[in-house]
């Protein structure tokens, strides 16, 4: 189908974007990569009056390392994250996740900020942000604030972003000494949204795990920090027994939503298997 009528504006400055958002509120939509917004327009699931195209705002671009923190601009495209040596070295979790995000042509346009702002429950990047304890910088004419990833995602496509706010960038702690990451997902077809997926990040000393952070996606209405499963591995040497404890604890963390793609029981089973394998790989990697 064809998109409904709307007006279009391509501001040249961040300030102007924020003014337009303040002025038009819910009548306006930010257009980033368009890889999720355009389908909803073409299917007429959404009929905004105004699209604010942010693609030419330089302040939102780029990926850089500053004092042990990686700054990922909202407009960093999926393809840039995939190809970035900086991401490969300092954010190996995200580097491992990127090949699973959509397909080449979608990655060439889709943006990091768009994925976070959209908050699709099956998307990879929101869960990576949760596992890595990222923080998001949100801006409006009212000012700037920084929100931790763990409290940013409120529910199905619901986030902490207010109507007049723009996601400017993420600040993600770079891989620290002794830490490792592991990422796994299960999808029907390469590049599709996952039926279940897991992000693991932890310190590993010999075989002993600490600061364990497991985040699941594709199970519930939002990416879920698996607190009980993470605690089950905390301070313990990785073993078959610990693996079983993690898998069991995951049942307390997750209350998966079943649909025609997979039942709740299947999703929980997949999350458990993936968590066990991801931690196996992490422990074996050294």
């Amino acid at each position: 189908m064809k998109a409904p009528r709307f007006s279009y504006v391509r501001p040249e400055s961040l300030e102007r974007v924020l003014e337009l958002l303040a002025e038009h509120g819910d009548e306006a939509r930010i257009l980033a990569g368009g890889q999720s917004l355009m389908p909803t327009l073409n299917m007429r699931l959404s009929e905004p009056r105004l699209l604010i195209d942010i693609n030419r705002i330089d302040a939102l671009k780029g990926i850089s390392l500053e004092d042990g923190t990686v700054r990922v601009g909202a407009l960093a495209r999926h393809a840039e994250l995939l190809d970035s040596p900086l991401v490969a070295e300092h954010l190996p979790l995200i580097a491992a996740a990127m090949p699973h995000v959509a397909h080449v042509a979608v990655r060439n346009r889709g943006t990091f900020g768009g994925s976070i702002a959209l908050a699709d429950p099956a998307a990879e990047l929101p869960a990576c942000a949760v596992a890595l304890d990222a923080a998001f910088v949100l801006a409006s004419l009212r000012g700037r604030r920084t929100v931790p990833a763990r409290s940013f995602f409120h529910g199905l496509y619901e986030t902490e972003l207010a109507e007049d706010e723009l996601l400017v960038e993420a600040r993600i702690p770079a891989l620290a000494a002794g830490y490792r990451s592991s990422f796994l997902e299960f999808a029907r077809r390469h590049g599709d949204f996952a039926l279940a997926g897991i992000c693991c990040h932890a310190r590993i000393d010999g075989a002993v795990l600490s600061d364990v952070r497991l985040a699941c996606f594709g199970s519930e209405d939002r990416p879920r920090f698996a607190g009980a499963a993470s605690a089950a591995a905390e301070g313990r040497a990785w073993s078959g027994e610990v693996k079983e404890a993690v898998k069991a604890a995951l049942g307390g963390d997750l209350d998966p939503i079943g649909n025609f793609h997979a039942s709740a029981a299947t999703r929980l089973h997949l999350a458990r298997v993936l968590a066990g394998r991801a931690l196996d790989r992490m422990a074996a990697a050294g």
């Binding site: 064809k2 709307f6 279009y8 257009l31 890889q35 080449v104 042509a105 979608v106």
Partner: protein, 159 residues
């Protein structure tokens, strides 16, 4: 803030300027305004890849990009790539391997394959399939398409 916007871009190497409706996507612009009907529309919501075109050197979904966003861009379609001769070997391999039947997906397949070839190296069949995962073919299946692309990689980058 407008519903109609003047744009200027190059399409297949030729400068073009037009006034477009904000809501018009790039493939409708190419097909309806410029008569370049090689880029197809299947799903019109990002799933099938029939609309694949090259914008500023990278393949994109033509149905998910507005024509107005291509203002100032360098756009290439299957017509331009064919005329340039740059994918003649790929097209020959598609024919030789029966990598098309109805041909609806073919322009998108060729554009995506052209980007794959730009990596300048041979890929495994698994890599080729992953790269093609965003392009649907509803009649030929993918085996022959992967064969055709593999053949060209072998010829261009050695066995």
């Amino acid at each position: 803030m407008q519903e109609f916007i003047d744009i200027a871009l190059t399409v297949n190497g030729e400068p073009v300027s037009r006034r477009v409706e904000a809501r018009q996507h790039l493939v409708d612009f190419l097909r309806n305004e410029l008569g370049l009907t090689g880029s197809h529309l299947g799903c019109e919501h990002g799933v099938c890849g029939a609309c694949t075109v090259r914008v500023d050197g990278a393949v994109v979904r033509g149905c998910l990009m507005l024509a107005v966003q291509a203002d100032g861009a360098d756009v290439w379609t299957v017509e331009g790539l064919s005329d340039s001769g740059g994918i003649a070997d790929l097209q020959e391999a598609f024919i030789a391997r029966n990598a098309l039947q109805c041909g609806y997906c073919t322009p998108g397949m060729l554009l995506t394959a052209a980007e794959m070839l730009e990596a300048g190296r041979r890929m495994t069949r698994t890599e080729i399939r992953a790269f093609l995962s965003g392009n649907f073919c509803r009649c030929t299946g993918y085996h022959a398409i992967v064969d055709a692309i593999g053949t060209v990689m072998e010829r261009r980058f050695g066995g």
